[in-house]
């Protein structure tokens, strides 16, 4: 069963906050739910499916559906870290296509700056069967990704300056976003001269840590058509997901799960990388973007460093405009989970509602990609292909 054209994103909302000491996690989930419903012109009573991930407090979906006052017929609490919400959009579209629901709410909230969970990694899960073999070596999040960066440099000659180009592009976009956590443009020199956090990754190769959240609403074609906001609906054209695991102890650190999720999504949508006008690429670190661009087929494996040079990622006129909100590298990485904001900025681009300075002209096809877990160990990857309402 294909989900192509069987569902639409009709509401999207990014919390404007980046530092929310006076809110509970449940309140932030509720605020983003309200924001997305208002964006769609829907009410709580219209929601018949609810999706959330490991950031939801308490009993996950049960607790949050209860708090919000939802009456849902189906739910899915798939947890793959920061990519969870892209999995959820695909699953919501499939459930809608199967006739099991018609309006699905997906929420994310987190407050790592103000008392919430610190950045994790599999070592944080002490009950995990792999924990004893990964939690005793001082693996934080950055040095794990640094292992992937080092190996990519070794195999393909990728340089720190090339990785820095990714941060520079994100920062050029963030300067137009009044809510961006880091609103100032930076140069390649500033990135490579920023303090080394985990060699070869510098501080400015890392994403921001922010409180906040976001939500999207996925609806059936019939429900989408009935809305006063139908003209802003974004079509779900393709979805792919993949687990990239530790390969039975023979891990390859130079590729991500996008090598499998990407082709699935492109095939379902019936398009190719060359057709894509805008990409939201998960950017926990610069190396995450570089590997993902290769794995999605925007360039050959190993050519990512050359591809991102010369402003290729800079909107609106680069070869592959990316993360025009400033991404996780500069704008927002709520709850250490960047997948939701990837979807939201793709929706803005397809609606023509991105900031004028970074709006891609005639943006008809967009890709959003999430990477959850860690490049150093195991990850859940999900790719969405989205289009304008009539795509």
């Amino acid at each position: 069963m294909s989900i192509r054209g069987r569902a639409y994103i009709v509401g999207a909302y990014e919390h404007p906050g980046r530092h929310l000491p006076d809110k509970t996690l449940a309140q932030i989930h509720a605020e983003v739910a309200s924001g997305a419903l208002a964006d769609a012109g829907l009410t709580l009573a219209d929601v018949d499916a609810y999706f959330c991930a490991g950031d939801a407090p308490g009993f996950g979906g049960l607790s949050m559906a209860d708090y919000l006052g939802l009456n849902v017929s189906v739910s899915d609490t798939t947890e793959t870290g920061g990519s969870s919400y892209l999995f959820h959009v695909g699953h919501a579209a499939a459930l809608i296509a199967a006739g099991m629901c018609s309006v699905a709410l997906i929420t994310l909230a987190g407050k790592p700056r103000t008392g919430g969970a610190a950045p994790g990694g599999s070592g944080a899960f002490t009950s995990a069967p792999e924990a004893a073999f990964e939690s005793v070596w001082g693996m934080a999040v950055p040095n794990g990704y640094a292992l992937a960066a080092r190996r990519h440099m070794y195999e393909f000659g990728t340089t720190s300056e090339q990785l820095a180009e990714i941060k520079v592009a994100a920062s050029l976009h963030a300067q137009h976003n009044p809510n961006a956590f880091l609103p100032d443009a930076v140069t390649v020199a500033e990135v490579v001269e920023s303090p080394m956090v985990a060699d070869p990754l510098h501080r400015l190769d890392c994403c921001v840590i922010t409180d906040g959240g976001g939500a999207v609403i996925v609806a059936s074609p019939e429900a989408a058509r009935s809305l006063g906001t139908a003209g802003r609906a974004v079509k779900v054209l393709g979805h792919g997901e993949a687990f990239k695991l530790s390969a039975k102890g023979r891990i390859d650190l130079t590729h991500t799960g996008a090598v499998n999720s990407g082709p699935s999504a492109f095939a379902e949508a019936g398009v190719t990388p060359a057709d894509i006008d805008y990409v939201s690429i998960y950017d926990s670190f610069t190396i995450t973007v570089l590997q993902t661009i290769e794995d999605l087929g925007f360039c050959a494996k190993g050519d990512g460093g050359r591809f991102v040079s010369d402003g290729a990622l800079v909107a609106p006129h680069g070869r592959l405009p990316f993360n025009t909100d400033g991404g996780g590298l500069c704008n927002n990485h709520p709850g250490n989970r960047g997948g939701m904001t990837k979807i939201i900025e793709a929706v803005r681009q397809l609606r023509g509602e991105a900031h004028a300075a970074v709006q891609v002209p005639n943006c008809r096809l967009a890709l959003a990609h999430g990477t959850g877990g860690s490049l150093a160990t195991r990850m859940g990857s999900a790719t969405l292909i989205l289009g304008q309402r009539d795509a």
Binding site: N143, R151, G157, A198
Partner: protein, 153 residues
């Protein structure tokens, strides 16, 4: 092929490099499946689980063969030799490692096949290169186990 960030001056060595703080030795939590592995480390031996049905050398240790679904797993002695698959000189540590910087997180590819996460010790971190030969050393946790770390050979 270039390897960025490596020391190019040949006279750097473990002896002349900057002092490297001693690493913490946090005790792992052995389970019913992994107790034989950790018991061996306490005796200064690195052992690996191998499938008796398909001969696959399993990593991470468990009593399940992810290659053929067998539960017939035996423990074999490892050579303790390998090469650095990747590494990071960590400048900002976490938890027990907060004050141990700089320290080296790495994957070492063992001669038997598995790529295992570990630390590289007894060296100037700036001198390390991918592909470098290393061998195992054991750091006792004082809790019936030892951490298997690696040092350049």
């Amino acid at each position: 092929m270039t390897v960025p960030d490596d020391a190019s001056d040949d006279d750097r060595s473990a002896k002349s490099g900057p002092p490297v703080p001693a690493l913490p030795v946090p005790a792992p939590h052995p389970t019913l499946e992994t107790a034989p592995f950790w018991d061996a480390t306490a005796q200064g031996r690195l052992v690996l689980p191998r499938c008796n049905d398909c001969a696959f050398v399993i990593w991470y240790p468990r009593l399940w063969c992810p290659q053929c679904a067998s539960t017939d797993v035996t423990w074999i002695p490892a050579s303790g030799r390998g090469t650095i698959y990747s590494f990071s000189i960590t400048r900002k540590g976490v938890g027990a490692y907060r004050d141990a910087v700089p320290y080296v997180l790495a994957y070492v590819e063992l001669e038997e096949g598995p790529r295992v996460m570990t630390n590289i010790v007894g060296c100037d971190p700036e001198s390390l290169v991918v592909g470098q030969a290393v061998s195992v050393v054991f750091h006792d946790t004082g809790n019936g186990s030892a951490l298997y770390r690696f040092t350049p050979t």
